[in-house]
Symmetry: C2
Subunit: 278 residues, 2 copies
């Protein structure tokens, strides 16, 4: 258990999202995956076989996307790498986004940690400006439990859902993220903390903690674009109130894309010139 | 078990290859993954954790690449889809390439078929011109068994390794592939056959079987380029000697790419402009 010199805060991004993978300018993935009888029918093997039940029905996944199958594997690979390197997170906090909850579960599965539970922390949600004026809507704790997700029922968040501000500035977002890191590190004074959240979180939850100022908009967007799925960063405690970024605690995870196969290529002469394959 | 009207030949491509994913114009993945002491040290979480032992040592993987972790998952997803659709291959034949053997194992794992064994068929190897004058070198049956791969020891191949011709023309390749399909369908007169081989195999093992002529070079390359990992095609028997292509037996599998994360983006000002991330 974390003495001062070994105490770590590890922050991870979630895995591959269904919407980014399957929605195009022509259609939203859900519109293609729900049949006329209102049943979910995955049209691609990388879509989840089943979706958790939630009060808003399937339509709620439109603004709270699940992971793809690959996304879940990405999470398990990172978890296995933590385990290989004997990195044990004692307290796990997740953004309430479904993709983050599912990623955290994949990480724990990869670590073979069957008894660790998740603290759902709305303060770890992404920059509110990324919501594009649609208020977030997440699974309730009861819905998580019904889906078999191991979440704490009595956790008191640092930032409540109702305290999130749709017009949050970038500085506000850095300050909110820093408040979460600082408060949780003080509430849980021993052991390693793992945050599973969004691309920007790697920076926003560690930046001020390590004594730096929030970034400019330009730098921020640059950083977010350079943060692939399951990126992770480790900040280590070097003094009573001092933290330092050590780097990524595990090797990176890179893989190539795979297009959808269309068997008409084999049977229709000239068909192979068609290029729209995903 | 296959009566005439339900008998199927299913042909699949292997999954994501380590070399295509990790070798660049600057280095071969193996050169980066073998340390000075000659030990294998995966530098990315998508590389296999361990490699099977083989007589030529690690260097043999240079021309006989293993699957990536994602490649193995792709295979399991296809196997699960076969199982969901109650597609049962009674006889499984694989190209001797390691990536094909590992893919077949992933498919069987996804199907929950723990007792099915693989027939290693050199006649299913890819077009010899793709070897670029390097003679193929595969795991021996004993090496497969030592690695825990469930292969038949006494299978007599349709085409022996020594019968493969380094200067094979495209027509020769179509004829070899057709010979394999025809011979195996006649040797195994009942049940479904599954071939796990290469991109071109989907066409070359079914084309003449379904009464079509081999393709031109131009059409061939177009088709190969349009055959992603784990593409699969089903030909169904419609008469004593007649087969017809039905299409792909399962939904397609599409996913996006993921770049390697470089944590220096967070700590080095201006570093994010560097673009070489895989």
């Amino acid at each position: 258990m974390g003495s001062l010199d070994t105490r770590r805060l590890i922050v991870c991004r979630h895995g591959e999202r269904c919407d980014f993978c399957f929605s195009t300018h022509r259609f939203h993935w859900l519109d293609k995956a729900i049949d006329e009888a209102g049943r979910y029918q995955p049209f691609n093997l990388n879509l989840p076989r089943n979706l958790p039940k939630r009060r808003g029905g399937y339509d709620s996944f439109r603004h709270d996307t699940p992971l793809t199958e690959m996304g879940y594997l990405q999470a398990k690979l990172i978890g296995r790498a933590f385990r290989d390197r004997e990195i044990k997170p004692h307290h796990v906090f997740v953004s309430p986004s479904l993709r983050c909850i599912q990623t955290a579960i994949g990480i724990l599965k990869g670590m073979n940690e069957n008894h660790t539970k998740l603290h759902i922390e709305p303060g770890l949600f992404e920059w509110m400006r990324f919501c594009r004026n649609v208020a977030p809507s997440w699974l309730t704790v009861d819905e998580c439990l019904a889906a078999g997700y191991p979440v704490y029922q009595d956790y008191i968040p640092v930032v409540k859902e109702t305290e999130l501000n749709m017009n949050e500035s970038l500085i506000d977002f850095y300050d909110r993220s820093h408040l979460v890191s600082k408060t949780l590190l003080s509430r849980y004074p021993t052991g390693n903390l793992l945050f599973v959240a969004h691309g920007a979180t790697l920076d926003t939850c560690t930046r001020q903690l390590c004594g730096e100022a929030p970034r400019s908009n330009e730098e921020f967007f640059e950083i977010v674009q350079k943060t692939p799925y399951l990126s992770s960063i480790e900040a280590r405690q070097t003094g009573a109130e001092q933290f330092e970024i050590i780097g990524t605690p595990v090797p990176p995870l890179a893989h190539s894309a795979n297009a959808a196969y269309d068997s008409q290529y084999l049977t229709t002469p000239g068909y192979a010139n068609n290029t729209d394959t995903l």
